[in-house]
């Protein structure tokens, strides 16, 4: 399994990608296709959500099938704050980060008592509970979700402009990935990876295994909440479908597709899945066939995901 390894070559690649992403809005405007700026923001937001799932999944070794609950919690938090008249983006982001993190702390504390398949199922159960609660709470919009009017400004910058919003999302994604990378190399990261490899031994060595796993789970939930808040701002809607189990499934697919446990796995997976969808839709109405076959091919012939393919070819791992 690929770890959070970094090499100079990979770092150079990441910088090149970042430069490319910075130039994207300019290129899109030049081609008269401003729509793609908004689309790119969406992709980057899903990249953040998938990366946060990769934190629990690849890094912590916990297969959570309920990550959508935190994604959705962030979105609803943003919508509720917008409704209450909070007009400062950093405040909204922080609140979504905190609220989703708290929810993850609660769900994690109850779920982490189980293992394996049962952990998968109990996280799913809690996410479904969150889904039905959100749909039923009066004043939360039911099946229609909560609409947001406009986007809160960031220190005087108007984020209603798609390009400004895109750069804000890009900056947050880059900062989050940097944080994940630092975390992986800190003491916390080594312990968590030790637990993933051999939980019993770490316990025997005297590490508070439960506390470590729970912190990892809650942190990932918090970052998913941030992504949710961004998505709500991007689309102008906090939709209950963000909490649905198919959303958890889609995030899982993104991570597995990109590469479990690889720093850029979530990003790669989100980009591949959403761009493939966008391209295939234009070619054929039956694009899901193509997507399904591609996913099967990844399972059968690229078990480490796309990031794994890269790593293997260059012999990094």
């Amino acid at each position: 399994m690929g770890l959070y390894v970094s090499s100079t070559r990979r770092r150079a690649l990441a910088v090149a990608a970042l430069v490319g992403l910075c130039a994207l809005p300019w290129l899109a405007q030049a081609a008269g296709q401003g729509f793609y700026v908004s689309f790119a923001s969406r992709v980057l937001i899903f990249a953040l959500a998938a990366s946060s799932l990769n934190l629990v999944l690849g890094f912590g070794g916990m297969v959570s099938f309920g990550h959508a609950a935190f994604f959705g919690a962030g979105a609803y938090c943003a919508a509720l704050l917008a409704g209450a008249g909070v007009a400062a983006a950093p405040l909204v982001w922080l609140a979504a980060f905190g609220a989703a993190g708290l929810l993850a702390l609660l769900i994690g504390a109850l779920s982490l008592r189980t293992r394996g398949v049962y952990f998968i199922m109990i996280t799913l159960a809690f996410a479904q509970m969150a889904y039905y609660l959100v749909v039923s709470l009066p004043g939360w919009g039911g099946d229609d979700g909560l609409p947001l009017s406009g986007r809160a400004p960031l220190f005087g910058i108007d984020l209603k402009d798609d390009t400004a919003f895109y750069y804000a999302v890009l900056a947050l994604l880059a900062a989050s990935l940097f944080a994940f990378d630092r975390l992986a190399h800190a003491r916390f990261g080594r312990v968590i990876q030790g637990i993933r490899e051999n939980e019993t031994r770490m316990e025997a060595l005297g590490y508070p295994v439960f506390a470590y796993k729970l912190s990892c789970f809650a942190l990932a939930g918090a970052f998913a909440g941030l992504a949710g808040a961004l998505l709500a701002s991007q689309s102008g809607l906090a939709s209950p479908s963000l909490l649905h189990w198919m959303q958890s499934g889609t995030l899982l697919v993104m991570v597995i597709l990109g590469g479990v446990g690889s720093l850029y796995g979530g990003v790669l997976g989100a980009v591949l899945l959403l761009v493939a969808e966008e391209v295939l839709v234009e070619i054929t109405p039956h694009w899901q066939i193509g997507l399904g076959l591609a996913l099967l091919a990844v399972v059968l012939w690229a078990p480490q995901g796309v990031a794994g393919l890269f790593a293997r070819r260059r012999g990094d791992d």
Binding site: Q33, Y36, S38, D143, D144, P147, S235, E282, P285
Partner: protein, 389 residues
Amino acid sequence: MFRKRLSILAAALMLTTAAHAADKVKVGFLSTLSGPGAGLGVDIRDGFNLALKHLNGKFGGLPAEVIVADDQQKPEIAQQATEKFLKKDKVDFMTGIVFSNLMLAVGPAVFDSKTFFVSANAGPSQYAGEQCNTYFFNVAWQNDNLHEAVGKYVQDKGFNKVVLVAPNYPGGKDAMVGFKRFYKGKSSEEIYTKLGQLDYAAELAQIRAQKPDAVFFFLPGGMGINFVKQFVAAGLSRDTQLFAPGFSADEDVIKAVGAPMLGMFNSSHWAHDMDNAENKRFVADFQKEYGRLPSLYASQGYDAALLIDAAVRDTKGKLDDKDAVRKALEAKRFKSVRGDFKFNVNHYPVQNYYLRVIGRDAQGRVTNKTMGTVFANHADAYAAQCKMK
């Protein structure tokens, strides 16, 4: 989401400046084309396409490009498709939305971009009253209207214990309000169901326990099909009369349910047996083209296309002059298949509403028959709150 181009034209990079005539008309057609509500969207689309065929593929003499997208009856899918229509395809008009919750979800983005939405179905009370908008036109009705007509009829017939069933979404709430505006019976139980629900066992058990003398239900598409079937299967039809707006008792539902629908009263602003030249041509050609009788949804899709055609024709294709387009839409110079109607200040129709009953026609088919007029020149209850700017 699948997008289909009906007439693909050279995708030249087009930068429209001041009000000069466009060389084609782009319409974004967003509707529910999959799932339990699909029957409605498909009928609207087919009606729209038939009108386009009658117009030789042109709106107001300009080549028409219609881009079709499926909203899957989900607000977030509808929003994404709308964003694409507005920012990528840069359409001149949008139409097609069936469900009011989706209309309310995409409305703000559409109006912000100064794109005209010609609704062929969704007519939420919000956009009829305080939130009425220069860029919103409804060519069909305001949501409450058909329910008001049924409410009046049920009241006139002297029923006084009625159970109301509607899905829990803006259109469902409008239905309850509309029905009760004219129905004044003492006890009326209201049951809200989940939008898209298919198994009504629990609701039917509740109705059985209430022992009403009539049930009024508003469940469009597949929901209504299942409700009527299960209502009859549960034996409730023996001593409880069913009433519905035309939405739940039109050809799409009749085709699926068949004989159990016989004798059901319902309301509509249009019927396939209406006697005018436009309607006769529409009904005959629709049957020839698609092999089934048109529903009211199909008639609405047909009229929406005719309204867009009239607006393009009257403005001579100068679609950038928003004021002129609005005036042309308001003037609505076309002959509707429902006979005459006019737009109120809130851009919703003022028109007649009729009572229909389901029976067998001369050929032995189970279908709707018009009985008489319930309301003449009826306006919706919200127009007074609309201060159109």
